[in-house]
């Protein structure tokens, strides 16, 4: 990868895989394909999946790997144009008007043109992403779109449709090259079909054993091999259980580093019981895992490890 200039797009699916791997993101071929296509076809990438499977991370990794700026828009209910797109600096505008009046320059047309100029414009993430950038178009991360309300979704659809916005006083801002857009959703509600249609869609699932181990080793190389294998095997066994919320990859990583902090060399039932709160976030789930259950899961995961060897 080093032979290429830092911000060149990958030329094939294999290169995409390598590029992500170089930045410690272990993707499967399906994800690499959809990322590659999104980059080449300049289409937004819509990622759905349970919490903690690395949806947001992919945008960060893409920004780092392609040497682009990361512009992040965290969604929430009531997100409006003023906080997503642009806002005028009203205080400064008022002062400018007062000064103009004091100086006696009361040319209304000119005043209005002065006050509504770039100088008083506060750019919010969407406008930032559309503005020209010397380092190439940025990576725009629209995070947790399911938290925003339908009104914002409709607005976003308009922006993603042709990557341009209109500010009444300034005119139309259009991205010469569209930004790399990554939209994520935790699926706490369904996103409208129209928005999905604009995007390339991908569901990120929990990784299988080998890939999760690779992720753990890439992210936390200081975890000893044995502990890493045992941790991943246990989490994999845990996901097969009937839980209200299965642990994500983020929880696996958290847990492994927690075990590392505790100086653990291997997994035993007492240790698992003490640190369960790192992996499971609902009291119902923690309550369900009594000592006997943990023993059973440990035995299962050890058998799995044996079989894999």
């Amino acid at each position: 990868m080093n032979s290429k200039p830092p911000n060149a797009l990958p030329a094939s699916i294999d290169e995409t895989l390598a590029l992500l791997a170089a930045h410690d993101y272990v993707a499967d071929r399906a994800l690499a394909t959809v990322v590659f296509l999104a980059l080449r076809m300049q289409r937004p990438l819509f990622l759905e999946g349970e919490a903690g499977v690395g949806k947001t991370e992919i945008a960060k990794v893409l920004a780092a790997a392609l040497n682009r700026r990361l512009v992040r828009l965290q969604c929430y209910e009531g997100l409006d144009v003023a906080s997503a797109l642009y806002e005028w600096n009203y205080a400064a505008q008022m002062i400018a008007i007062r000064i103009a009046e004091a100086e006696g320059a009361a040319d209304r047309e000119r005043l209005s043109a002065d006050v509504f100029s770039d100088k008083f414009l506060v750019k919010r993430p969407l406008l930032e992403a559309l503005s020209p950038d010397a380092a190439g178009p940025p990576v725009l991360l629209v995070d947790e779109l399911d938290r925003a309300d339908e009104a914002f979704e409709a607005f976003l659809l308009e922006v993603l449709a042709d990557f341009q916005v209109t500010i009444p006083e300034l005119g139309t801002v259009r991205a010469a090259v569209p930004p790399i857009v990554v939209v994520t959703s935790n699926r706490t509600r369904e996103i409208h079909d129209a928005l999905k249609r604009r995007c390339l869609y991908h569901w990120i699932d929990y990784p299988a054993f080998a890939r999760e181990l690779a992720i753990l080793q890439a992210r936390l190389p200081q975890v000893p091999e044995n502990l890493a294998r045992a941790t991943v095997a246990f989490v994999q066994a845990l996901r097969k259980e009937d839980l209200f919320k299965s642990p994500g990859v983020a929880e696996t990583l958290d847990w492994a580093s927690a075990l590392l902090e505790l100086g653990a060399k291997s997994l035993d039932a007492a240790l698992v019981g003490d640190t369960l709160g790192v992996v499971l976030k609902y009291q119902d789930d923690i309550g369900r895992l009594d000592r006997g259950k943990i023993d059973k899961l440990l035995a299962e995961s050890r058998a799995q490890l044996k079989a894999a060897e």
């Binding site: 094939s12 699916i13 394909t33 076809m41 009531g78 309300d149 009104a151 249609r197 869609y201």
Partner: protein, 384 residues
């Protein structure tokens, strides 16, 4: 690399097959798919699979349909790694239809589409509403279980005419409001400049209002069969009047019929529901159905939602697991109403184990056996 025209044609046929199988694809997606394959190039079958997947699949639920359709359509004729372009002679129609049939059976959304739709006759409704006052009175109290077919159709019309309460909660979105407490600088400055900049007339805004989403869980087991149909009509009318209603049916398993109920015509919508749910008038496994809901759906539909649980609570199995699932449901819901047709019996006492397990976890229990009780429910929803 340019896709050979033969391959392009096959990709377009494949997209059409997927559409027939119920995937929501616009005409643009086939073009996109060809472009994507051109971009990614032909390498391996796996890459080809994921390239088409990236463009053509827009919902996680569609994964299995895509997978089946892909395997049927792009079947390898040559045991060796054949070039995909060679597969032109493969007739796309038969496997596509096969996949489509399966999809139509499984998915609800494609049942009851325009062919089944007919315009709603408003005259009927107004005409029927002119019944004498005394007639209406008797009718309004009659138990659903005792109604004849004609009366049920009358009840449906009455339900459609129910005044649905506009219960509202404050949203975080700010809207302009002349009596609002916050100053809207954007509009203030614009208005002021429009007027010449001499006067500054403060514009204000305040939090808007929205309706909380509603989730209905309807028991369709044997003991509820007299009511479930009419209640479904009620839910259909509610979906139409209110929007943001998610409906699930359960007997021995849980079925999401939200999309089926979104169909405008009530008969088509109910027909779609009856196709979707396979467990009509069977047994009741309330706790396992609630468990399925809690596990798979609660985080997706229960964001500040009001829950209507419509069941008689008659279940033989496990009181303890049922209580646990009810507790979980109660914790995730904004308000949990239990609508119970058994309340029609005066002096109803919760003796059945299932009912006793569920009762501590509901906010309110209401009767749902006649039109009056549904009207009462609408009023109750106004407080939610």
């Amino acid at each position: 690399m340019n896709a050979a025209p033969a391959v392009a044609e096959n990709i377009i046929a494949f997209a059409r097959a997927l559409r027939a199988a119920g995937l929501k694809l616009g005409p643009g997606s086939a073009v996109d798919a060809v472009a994507a394959v051109e971009t990614a190039g032909f390498t391996t079958r796996e890459d080809f699979y994921w390239t088409l997947h990236a463009v053509l699949v827009k919902r996680h639920e569609d994964d299995p349909v895509f997978d089946t359709a892909f395997r049927l359509f792009w079947r390898r004729r040559d045991p060796n790694e054949a070039i995909l372009a060679e597969m032109l002679p493969l007739a796309p129609v038969a496997p596509a239809e096969k996949a489509g049939q399966r999809r139509v059976q499984e998915a609800l959304e494609d049942v009851g589409r325009p062919s089944m739709r007919r315009p709603r006759r408003e005259e009927d409704l107004t005409y029927d509403m002119r019944g004498t006052a005394s007639d209406l009175e008797v009718f309004a109290k009659k138990d659903f279980a005792q109604m004849s077919a004609a009366e049920i159709s009358e009840a449906r019309r009455r339900i459609a005419a129910l005044p649905f309460a506009r219960e509202e909660i404050f949203s975080r979105r700010l809207v302009s409001d002349p009596r609002g407490r916050r100053i809207d600088l954007r509009r203030t400055l614009r208005a002021s400049l429009r007027a010449g900049g001499d006067l500054i007339d403060l514009k204000r805004r305040a939090p808007g209002r929205r309706r909380p989403p509603l989730v209905a869980l309807l028991d369709i087991s044997g003991s509820m069969s007299d009511y479930s149909r009419v209640v479904l009509h009620f839910l259909h009318a509610l979906t139409e009047a209110r929007g943001r209603v998610a409906t699930f049916l359960f007997g021995t398993r849980l079925t999401n019929v939200t999309r089926a109920l979104a169909c405008r015509d009530p008969d088509a919508a109910l027909a779609a529901c009856s196709v979707a749910a396979k467990d009509w008038s069977g047994g009741t496994w309330i706790s396992s159905s609630l468990h399925a809901f809690n596990k798979h759906w609660s985080r997706r539909v229960l964001t500040g939602a009001v829950v209507l649980l419509i069941t008689d609570g008659l279940e033989r199995e496990g009181g303890e697991t049922l209580a646990r699932e009810m507790d979980r449901l109660h914790k995730s819901a904004r308000r949990l109403y239990w609508l119970n047709p058994l309340l029609r019996y005066e002096g109803f006492e919760p003796k059945a184990r299932g009912i006793r397990a569920m009762l501590p976890h509901v906010d309110e229990m209401r009767p749902v056996h006649n039109l009056e009780s549904l009207e009462g429910l609408c009023a109750a929803l106004a407080k939610a």
